[in-house]
């Protein structure tokens, strides 16, 4: 599994609805952020319950400006760990 993104890439969190347990928080859906680094390759927890052999997914540390998340200017940032299949290029 070759990671699609690298540090510095601008990415957007997919805004799709996901039924059931999910590790991508709603407030970050649709927000644009910056990949700070690739954390590693992990089993996707959304799949573990359905497939005996869950696929490996790259996991990224993604940083978001305040405005990108909340729509208003602010001095602060939010960082979250997000799996590759929830990200697309900005």
């Amino acid at each position: 599994m070759t990671p699609k993104f690298k540090a510095g890439d601008r990415v957007v969190v997919d805004a799709r609805d996901h039924v059931g347990h999910c590790r991508t928080p709603t407030y970050l859906r649709g927000a644009e952020g910056r990949v700070r680094k690739l954390i590693g390759i992990y089993k996707n927890p959304e799949e573990l319950a359905y497939f005996k052999e869950a696929a490996d997914y790259p996991l990224y540390d993604v940083v978001f400006d305040w405005k990108a998340v909340w729509g208003v200017d602010g001095p602060d940032e939010v960082a979250a760990d997000i799996y590759e299949h929830w990200l697309k290029s900005a």
Binding site: G20, H21, P45, L48, A49
Partner: protein, 89 residues
């Protein structure tokens, strides 16, 4: 935000199961993850551990990890045992 309290022994025991089952492998792990997917509770819910236990009881029996009749029988045995203990006090 100073409302600290120790978990009760019951809560600690459920918590230990919740930590161990995903590492157990096999069907028990699958059942745990499926229960997690379906669970409608958050850690600040007063019934958090109870809801987890309900989800595990139905998942583990539905998936055949433990037998439903065995569980019912064991619940009765445990209850009788604990009641006997209480009256002995």
């Amino acid at each position: 935000m100073a409302d600290e309290r120790e978990l009760t022994l019951y809560e600690k025991r459920v918590d230990a199961l919740l930590q161990l089952l995903p590492r157990a492998g096999g069907q028990a792990r699958e059942t745990f993850l499926q229960a997690q997917l379906n669970l409608k509770t958050a850690p600040d819910d007063a019934q958090y551990f109870d809801r987890w236990l309900d989800a595990l009881a139905s998942g583990l029996t539905a998936d055949g990890v433990i037998d439903r009749q065995d569980l019912e029988a064991r619940v009765a045995t445990v209850r009788a045992r604990l009641e006997r203990w209480e009256t002995a006090e």
